[in-house]
């Protein structure tokens, strides 16, 4: 079996599995402009972000590096940045700062300023014209064969139930092992769901410094939980987990960490940061389906696996927790719960339920999942990619605000 896929080569040696032109609104005012261009020009993607005004420096840095990270993602062919005027705004949010960071990857960047185009109607027309030209140029890049070492895959586990820890997450772990040992990149997150299992996770840290970063991340999150004065069990596990049989946060965490596999953890990164080398990474961040995929896309992941339990998921043909929150990074869904797969098969790409029933080994299931990932990398659509949905996104900013 061939461990290769066909992808779009980029200037800096990374490989895209999709080929988007990214329209980057540098200040919140520009959301509307990039959205309207996006409506007109197929092949473009943009974000509608919640703004930078009145946020402290650390949060502005999160927004800035996340927007830059989205633009640097290998699924992006080229970038059109749109801002108000030259050298304007907070230092971290200046168009020129972001453009230079993106251009250093070798990607084509174009810029437009509202003040120089003299207003909304003109900038909209100019933006459409440039975007059309960029999309045409992107369409002249063709897929080439590449190996596992050029893959960068993220995982989030959601709507966890009892199958997550035994038939779902361990299968992802097997895939991560194959990718990382081949020289590729993988990442996972959800710090709250390490609480109770951190003593196991730290054994996989590649050195003491990384182990200490993991413990510090968990400690900070747990302290934040304690400071609310609330019983965390009323927040996480979520109601759907409890309906699915998970009783405590510790139980959820022990099942969650197995999604990382058995390879050493190379480093701990903050939300929106990019890795400097291949390997396995833990991102210290919130588990939200609206927020975390954006962070993974900024990391540089080409694809995110949403490993779903699903027992607490209502109705036939349920709505998936997220469709487009990866922005330029597609989401694929899987579950280890055969009953959830049967109900949600409109949106779920893969089922490892046979592992649960003892009919298939984790190795075999991992092999099948990797085969599917390689097909998706080569152009096969994920089920949620077949639905036109503009999810809201949120970036992991913590406040306070002023």
């Amino acid at each position: 079996m061939n461990d290769t896929f066909i992808g779009y080569p980029r200037e800096n040696g990374t490989v895209g599995i999709r080929n988007h032109v990214f329209l980057l609104p540098v200040q919140r005012y520009m959301n509307m402009v990039t959205n309207k261009i996006c409506e007109c020009v197929p092949g473009t993607k943009t974000v509608t972000f919640t703004g930078e005004m009145g946020r402290p420096k650390t949060d502005r840095e999160v927004i800035s590096r996340t927007l830059i990270g989205l633009a640097l993602n290998p699924n992006v062919h080229s970038v059109l940045l749109i801002g108000i005027k030259r050298n304007h705004g907070y230092e971290e949010m200046r168009l020129e700062f972001m453009r230079d960071a993106i251009a250093s990857s070798g990607k084509r960047t174009e810029v437009l300023y509202l003040a120089e185009e003299e207003g909304f109607y003109n900038i909209l027309g100019k933006g459409i014209k440039i975007a059309r030209e960029m999309v045409l140029e992107a369409s002249r890049v063709f897929r080439q064969p590449f190996g596992l070492d050029t893959l960068s895959i993220a995982v989030k586990c959601g709507l966890s139930d009892a199958t997550s820890g035994i038939a779902g997450n361990p299968v992802v772990g097997r895939v991560f092992d194959k990718i990382v040992t081949a020289g590729g990149t993988a990442c996972f997150s959800e710090t709250t769901e390490v609480i109770g299992a951190e003593h196991i996770l730290v054994k996989k840290a590649c050195n003491e410094s990384v182990a200490n970063k993991i413990l510090a991340a968990v400690k900070a999150t747990e302290e934040a939980a304690l400071s609310t004065g609330e019983d965390i069990r009323k927040t996480n596990p979520i109601p759907e987990n409890i309906e699915g049989g998970i009783s405590t946060l510790e139980e959820k965490s022990l099942g969650a960490i197995v999604k990382a596999g058995s390879q050493p953890i190379t480093d701990v990164l903050q939300y929106g940061e990019q890795p400097q080398a291949p390997g396995l990474y833990f991102i210290d961040a919130w588990m939200s389906s609206i927020c975390l995929p954006v962070g993974f896309a900024a990391f540089g992941a080409q694809l995110m696996i949403f490993q779903m339990g699903g027992a607490g998921f209502p109705s036939r043909h349920p709505i998936m927790p997220a469709h487009s929150t990866g922005v330029i990074m597609p989401l694929m869904y899987m579950t280890g719960n055969p009953e959830a797969y049967e109900r949600g098969s409109d949106g779920i790409d893969f089922c490892s339920g046979e592992v649960l029933q003892g009919k298939m080994s984790l190795e075999t299931a991992g092999g099948q999942l990797l085969d599917l990932i390689l097909e998706i990398a080569s152009g096969r659509l994920t089920k949620v990619e077949t639905l036109k949905v503009q999810d809201p996104i949120e970036m992991y900013v913590k406040g306070p605000v002023f």
Binding site: T163, I200, G229, D231, G245
Partner: protein
Amino acid sequence: MKEADNIAIAIRQIEAGESVSDTEQKVTVVATETIPFGFKIAIREIADGDLIYKYGEPIGKSVGFICAGQLVHVHNIVGVRGRGDL
């Protein structure tokens, strides 16, 4: 399942009165009530305040006495981490 585990996961719904075993046939228990798919069944007696073990690790502690075969969930066990209310 690990040696230390005092609960097991039902991989299908178990009816009250049914005798069930784990996949390796090491443990057998009779369910005292319905155990829904994916939920936990006590495989031995658990005293009030005892730690609950799954995957060989503690996942919380019991509230009250739990006899073998009973459903184990939020009504009779509690987690201890992240408890700002304690």
